[in-house]
């Protein structure tokens, strides 16, 4: 069943009264309800520990919610298993805050992983990897072991891996934390490009330079709860 949101677009992400508690009693997210349209760019902000990363982890089903319902394109993801879960994850690109790079592999190999799991042809993978590294200013790091890269470079490799497989949903956690203004712009340009191409993009950040002048919606979390929403044309 395809659902329509207020502005007529299909809903990509639907959260209804979602809570996440970590044992013993850390409440990382409390009663969050949210609906993000397909093709939307969406910012999640908040202080450190507000629950931004937790929200993204729930969206890519890396964690399961303690309570509440999460639907991606109309499908409740907590019930997905095995093959179906794998298929869904191939359609979601995630740039993790802690990168999760394989530090004994080259940059190219790290980026290629997300395409390999969906059995893309080697030539296509090669071309796409070169292309992305070019756009992120990493062309000369193609064959460097990622363990030897600077944090800012690793961050961009993570982003490249997240979008390499052209996912319909991109979750980015703190994409510009270690970057200068020029490189930040480079990253945001790439994300905007993906968004223009139709991908739903969710960005968690505390870098106000990237959302200050945006026309997209910005949601602020405080201590795991919804605080306020700004921007967007509803």
């Amino acid at each position: 069943m395809k659902t329509k949101s207020n502005n007529g677009l299909e809903t990509m992400i639907e959260l209804i009264k979602v809570s996440k508690e970590y044992p013993p009693d850390v409440v990382a997210l409390k009663d969050l309800s949210l609906s993000i349209a397909s093709g939307e760019m969406f910012f999640v902000i908040g202080m450190s520990g507000a629950g931004k990363t937790t929200l993204l982890k729930l969206l890519c089903s890396m964690e399961i919610p303690s309570s509440g319902l999460i639907e991606i394109s109309g499908k409740p993801i907590s019930q997905l298993k095995g093959h179906h879960l794998a298929r869904l994850r191939q359609k979601i690109g995630v740039a993790y805050q802690d990168f999760k790079l394989l530090n004994d592999r080259t940059t190219a190999e790290n980026v290629a992983i997300s395409m390999e799991v969906s059995y893309k042809k080697p030539q296509i993978i090669k071309k796409r990897v070169r292309d992305l590294l070019e756009q992120l200013g990493l062309a000369d790091k193609h064959d460097t072991i990622t363990g030897e890269l600077s944090r800012g470079e690793q961050q961009r490799v993570t982003l490249a891996r997240a979008i390499a497989n052209s996912p319909t949903m991109i979750l980015v956690d703190e994409p510009t934390g270690n970057l200068d203004a020029v490189t930040t712009e480079m990253v945001m340009n790439l994300l905007n490009k993906c968004n223009k191409a139709g991908a739903t993009v969710v960005i968690a950040t505390h870098d106000d330079s990237i959302y200050r002048h945006t026309s997209h919606r910005v949601m602020e979390l405080r201590k795991g709860r919804f605080h306020m929403m700004t921007g967007g044309i509803l």
Binding site: A86, R89, S118
Partner: protein, 295 residues
């Protein structure tokens, strides 16, 4: 197509990463196959030899007196009431003497001073082919010795008994080495796969996160177990064959091996051993994966 390409790349990576333990496993697998096949080969040959021995088996019943035609009939009837037999033949004193003389050949003259009837008359009983087991032969022999007028029964007791216990011992060794084979292949393969999995936990976690299907993660490990099985067991069988050929070459001419025909496994048996080893190895890798990948 791309699937197998990535799978093979993964396998190559695994092998490069843990080649030392992979090699150990390979050697262990082939060594256990070699040990098992070695004993099994001897056992199989013993069995064929035993069959031939059983074919020639006959019991000689020595009698006190020469039986008349009527008594011969009676005895025949008595013998056949125990079991059907292949053949019964009465040998008179004179016949026994002639036979003995023939066996002596040129040394016949030692018999010159002997009376022509010093050898007892006897009955030669050839049991049916199905009367193979030692116990049955023993029972039959006991039965025959209880017939009236018998002196004793002979069938090469010592020989048959020793051979019987030897094959029995061999069958136990074959069983033990077979168990060893099963245990080592399953556990060694499981152990190396476990090592690989533990060494690549981060990567496997990531693969799951970027949406690798279970098959994508599992197939390389299964293939690894399969390879261990194929290479290991083939190596074992081939080295046994080399050993066999070497022994045949070394000890050709009159000797132990020519006493009875010693032959290698038929291709079917060799392939069965290899297939079973492959199955065991794959099983080992599969079980570990289920445990450690939690997929």
């Amino acid at each position: 197509m791309s699937f197998w390409l990535t799978v093979f790349r993964q396998v190559g990576r695994n092998i490069r990463q843990t080649w030392a333990s992979q090699l150990m496993t390979l050697l262990t697998v082939s060594l256990s196959v070699l040990i098992f096949a070695f004993f099994y080969l001897i056992y199989a040959n013993m069995l064929t030899f035993g069959e031939k021995l059983g074919d020639d088996l006959s019991l000689i019943v020595y009698l006190e007196d020469e039986p008349g035609p009527e008594l011969q009939l009676q005895l025949t009837k008595k013998i056949t009431t125990f079991d059907e037999v292949e053949k019964i033949r009465f040998i008179s004193r004179a016949e026994a003497y002639q036979r003995f003389a023939r066996q002596l050949g040129q040394n016949q003259d030692v018999l010159n001073d002997m009376p022509k009837d010093f050898l007892p008359p006897s009955i030669e009983v050839v049991p049916l082919k199905n009367l193979r087991s030692l116990n049955q032969v023993k029972l039959f022999s006991a039965y025959l010795s209880r017939l009236p007028g018998t002196l004793k029964v002979q069938y090469g007791q010592d020989w048959v008994e020793r051979f019987y216990y030897f094959t029995k011992l061999l069958s136990i060794i074959v069983l033990l080495s077979g168990t060893l084979l099963i245990l080592t292949t399953i556990f060694m393969v499981a152990y190396t796969i476990r090592l690989t999995i533990l060494g690549r936990q981060a990567e496997l976690e990531l693969l799951k996160l970027v949406g690798a299907t279970n098959n994508y993660i599992r197939t390389p490990f299964l293939l690894e177990g399969l390879l261990q099985g194929i290479i290991g067991s083939s190596l074992g069988i081939v080295s046994l064959y080399a050993l066999y050929e070497w022994i045949k070459l070394r000890f050709s001419g009159p000797g132990f091996l020519n006493l009875f025909e010693f032959s290698f496994f038929s291709p079917v048996v060799s392939i069965t051993i290899i297939c079973v080893s492959i199955l065991l190895c794959t099983l080992g890798s599969y079980s570990t994966m289920q445990k450690f990948l939690r997929i």
